[in-house]
Structure formats: C-alpha cells, structure tokens
C-alpha cells in the first residue's frame, strides 16, 4: 500500500480539481461502468457514486497526478463491493490456471482460431460489442483498460490491484477469447475461415 499523503485544498481548489481533472473523464467512466454492469442505469449509479466518493476523498488525491487511473480504481472497487455481490455470477474462471498456462511453454503452441481480417470488415453492427460483453467481466475489463483507455501495464496493475504479470496473462487470454467469439460470428455469417 502506498502512503496516502493528505492534501489540503480550499473549496475553490476542490471545485477546480473536480471540474478540470475529474469531470473530463466522465465519458470514459460511463463506458467503463456500462461494460462492467452491462446495464445503463447501473452504470449511471456507479459513475455517480464514484464521483461522489472521489469528491469526498479529494484530499487523498494529489493534484496533477493521474486522475483518470485514480477514478477508474474507485469505480472498479465500487463495482466489486456494491454490484458484483448482487449479480450472482458464479466465477467460472480459474485465474490461477490462466496464469500458469501463460507462463508455460504451451502458450507458444496454442492454436489460433481461424479468422480472417476480411471477415471483420463485415462486422459493422453490434457483433464486436456483443462479443466483448460476452466475456467474463475480468477479461472484459482488461480489454477496455488497454485498448480503449490506453492504460499502461503499471496503471492497470494499480487500478485492478493485481501484479503486472497477471495483467499480461489476463490480457493475453482475453484477446484469445475475443478472437474465438469473433471467429464464431464469422462462421455464422458464412465465412469459411481458411
């Protein structure tokens, strides 16, 4: 755990931080909330709750540091504490297995699902979004953080409270699973994937 250095801000400063460092990330936050909960109303509640918490804890935020990563971390924690319990999604994924597979020699010999770039060109509707939403929430999360939000390994590790090695193995598996889903779509659209 890092030491939290408490800052002292006047109301005016708090307001400035909130408006200029926190609020500009609202669209990303809302999308992240939606991708986690898969429900627009839950996403709204989650984002609202996150901003409220961010404001309450504003003195543990150091001005000019990575506000986006800080906000994402609060949102992710709120999701785990308040939402994940409600959704009785049995945890089907053995993350230990994901990681040991990633660190084994087998990973280089894995079979890449047959999918051609051509087939992707026809996925102009919701196919990709549905495929992403169909992944287990932890896999969905790393794809969002990396591909949409452009976070670095280190930032993702902090947001998710997992080691960098786990970030890497999870991302690798997530990409693989996404590819499998898209390959199924391509097949259903009549593409012969060879």
């Amino acid at each position: 755990m890092e030491d939290v250095v408490r800052q002292h801000y006047t109301d005016k400063e708090k307001r400035e931080i909130f408006d200029h460092e926190f609020l500009p990330h609202i669209n990303s936050m809302y999308n992240f909330g939606y991708r986690l909960t898969l429900d627009r109303d839950d996403a709204k509640d989650l984002v609202q709750d996150t901003y409220f918490k961010a404001f309450r804890f504003i003195e543990s935020f150091q001005r000019g540091t990575n506000a986006k990563a800080w906000l994402f971390r609060i949102l992710k924690n709120s999701f785990i504490n308040d939402y994940r319990k409600k959704i009785k999604e049995p945890n089907k994924v053995d993350y230990q297995e994901v990681e040991s597979y990633y660190n084994s020699e087998d990973v280089d010999r894995q079979i890449t699902p047959d999918l051609r770039v051509d087939a992707l060109k026809d996925m102009i509707g919701d196919e990709i979004s549905n495929a992403l939403n169909a992944l287990d929430v932890d896999f969905r999360t790393v794809i969002i953080l990396c591909d949409l939000e452009g976070f670095k390994y280190e930032e993702m590790a902090k947001i998710l409270d997992i080691p960098i090695g786990t970030v890497r193995s999870r991302l690798h598996r997530a990409r693989q699973l996404l590819k499998e889903k898209l390959s199924e779509y391509a097949k259903s659209m009549g593409y012969k994937n060879t």
Partner: protein, 88 residues
C-alpha cells in the same frame, strides 16, 4: 547484414518469443525501437505478420465500436449539482 540487437526485454530472461513481442506491441507498451524491430521481424516471420494484422484489426474494431459515446447529460447534471450542494 547483421541482425540488429533485440530491444525487447524478456520477462523470463530467455530470448523473447514472437508471442511476447507481439503482445507488447498489441498492448501498446512497446517503445519506438521495439516497434521498429518488430516491423522488420515481420518481414521474415509469417506467423507474426498474420497475427499482427488480425489482432490489430480487432483492436481497431474494439476502439471504434465499443467506445460508448457520451455519458447522458442528465448524469453529468446530477453529479454537478450533487457536488455543488457539498460545497458551501
């Protein structure tokens, strides 16, 4: 022509594999030198060449199709007024 030195730092201490290099690129973690090295690596490594183009196409698709657009204006309004109430 001699092989340029590989700028990828292997996680394991061994020579970095194709998969490790490709993932570094895909995950947006590569330095300009690493990207350059990988570009010339693809010239003589067909599996990397194929995977790279497919994986990048998927990544781009995610970026264009899953970005979610803008947060609802009423949400922004609610948040702003909630904070205004908390600052006297």
């Amino acid at each position: 022509m001699s092989e340029p030195t590989n700028p990828f730092t292997p996680v394991t201490g061994k020579k970095p594999t194709c998969m490790e290099m490709l993932q570094f690129i895909l995950d947006g973690q590569a330095t300009p030198e690493q990207k350059e090295y990988f570009r010339s690596h693809m010239d003589h490594c067909m599996p990397c060449f194929k995977s790279y183009h497919l994986d990048m196409a998927i990544k781009e698709l995610v970026q264009t199709k899953c970005c979610g657009g803008e947060a609802p204006t009423e949400l922004v309004r609610t948040i702003k007024s909630q904070i205004a109430q908390n600052i006297s």
